[in-house]
Subunit: 177 residues, 3 copies
Amino acid sequence: MDCIRIGIITASDRASAGIYEDISGMAIQDTLKSYLLSSFEIVYRCIPDEQAVIEQTMIELADQQACCLIVTTGGTGPAPRDVTPEATENVCIKMLPGFGELMRQVSLQYVPTAILSRQTAGIRGQSLILNLPGKPASIRQCLDAVFPAIPYCIDLIGGPYLQCNEAVIKAFRPKST
Amino acid sequence: MDCIRIGIITASDRASAGIYEDISGMAIQDTLKSYLLSSFEIVYRCIPDEQAVIEQTMIELADQQACCLIVTTGGTGPAPRDVTPEATENVCIKMLPGFGELMRQVSLQYVPTAILSRQTAGIRGQSLILNLPGKPASIRQCLDAVFPAIPYCIDLIGGPYLQCNEAVIKAFRPKST
Amino acid sequence: MDCIRIGIITASDRASAGIYEDISGMAIQDTLKSYLLSSFEIVYRCIPDEQAVIEQTMIELADQQACCLIVTTGGTGPAPRDVTPEATENVCIKMLPGFGELMRQVSLQYVPTAILSRQTAGIRGQSLILNLPGKPASIRQCLDAVFPAIPYCIDLIGGPYLQCNEAVIKAFRPKST
């Protein structure tokens, strides 16, 4: 059986230059480990906020590394160097606006600046690409909100079966199509 | 007086091949009949999940059949054969993102996988095109949520006056522009 | 110190032709005056619902007049002459879908036809462009909902520091990036 592979891309000029530690990438990894009973391998990349580099990295993780899920952190705000959603749209064949809507709605319960986030999600081949915010606290809030839909989404695009630790997060799979 | 015409498009490989009955299309028809006091004629098409066919059918129902409202069911998920939102965007001149947002929000009260739906709505000439989910139960939930805005929308694009059965659904028309 | 400049664009065939008074533009001006302790100058334009004219006016207010915030009113519905969101998308480099989502959600508490509004927001250079509805009552509801995020957004795109009257509206600026 092939191993399940999940990509984590940290888009951050400062973290990729070693100016500070990539706490966000670690937070995603820890959260995924707490969610999943299925064993999986992390493919991790920490790169600068360059749209072309982000796109190439997403393409590599989807097409060569065969990650069924690619989670990004950083680069979703309104500042000029925030280009992760643009990269995501460029490499995806289908966008899933419901992910961004729900994550903004959840974040709005904590901060009114949640509406500044342009985070989204989309499909490239057999990979689901999901943008998360840059801050560790918001990452967990967003993942808790959207993850219940992710295993079924990956089923629908022909990916591997993800089994969740139901004590931590409940995946939902409708009975029939 | 010209008769009011409403289109129903079922996008489904299996229903169009006769593998199973189109319960979803019937559910839409029954719901519309319960909503509207105005007499109307249904123009019904059951077609495969082929983007070009869906687009041609939408164009025919809007431009030749003069349907003021065209409701689709099916093809809004993340799977490769789900292409109804793409077809809708291609034939519409204006998109109305508020429909998809509200329908996903309502469906989220029932299933966390509601965020996987890419359903949307848009305007083509004097026709409002609305994507609904594939499952009969979700169809009614979504229509109940968005229909109160539909008669006024059709007024605004120069369509016929739809009169609702207020005991079932209340159309809302603002007092003045 | 350069003066803070805020643009107000009323897109309305009738108001620009002098058929009625531009109450909406005045409502925006009054609301902004009640929000802001920082002194600012209004750059005001009342123009017809012509997409090219709206785009040129947005470009002038952003690039020549150096407005850090450009607020529009009118032209966000589904009717053929409603083209303000299209103009906004054409002149912006980044769209901020969270603004439209939140404004529609807030308006939905008052009228079910809120889903017909296509209002959005985006970034052009160092300007935030925000579409508001045409009706004075809805304008205030929408601004109250989204304004807390606006000063920080303008910080992020390199604009001036807006200070709010906290008794009226609380701007939110996260502690650290």
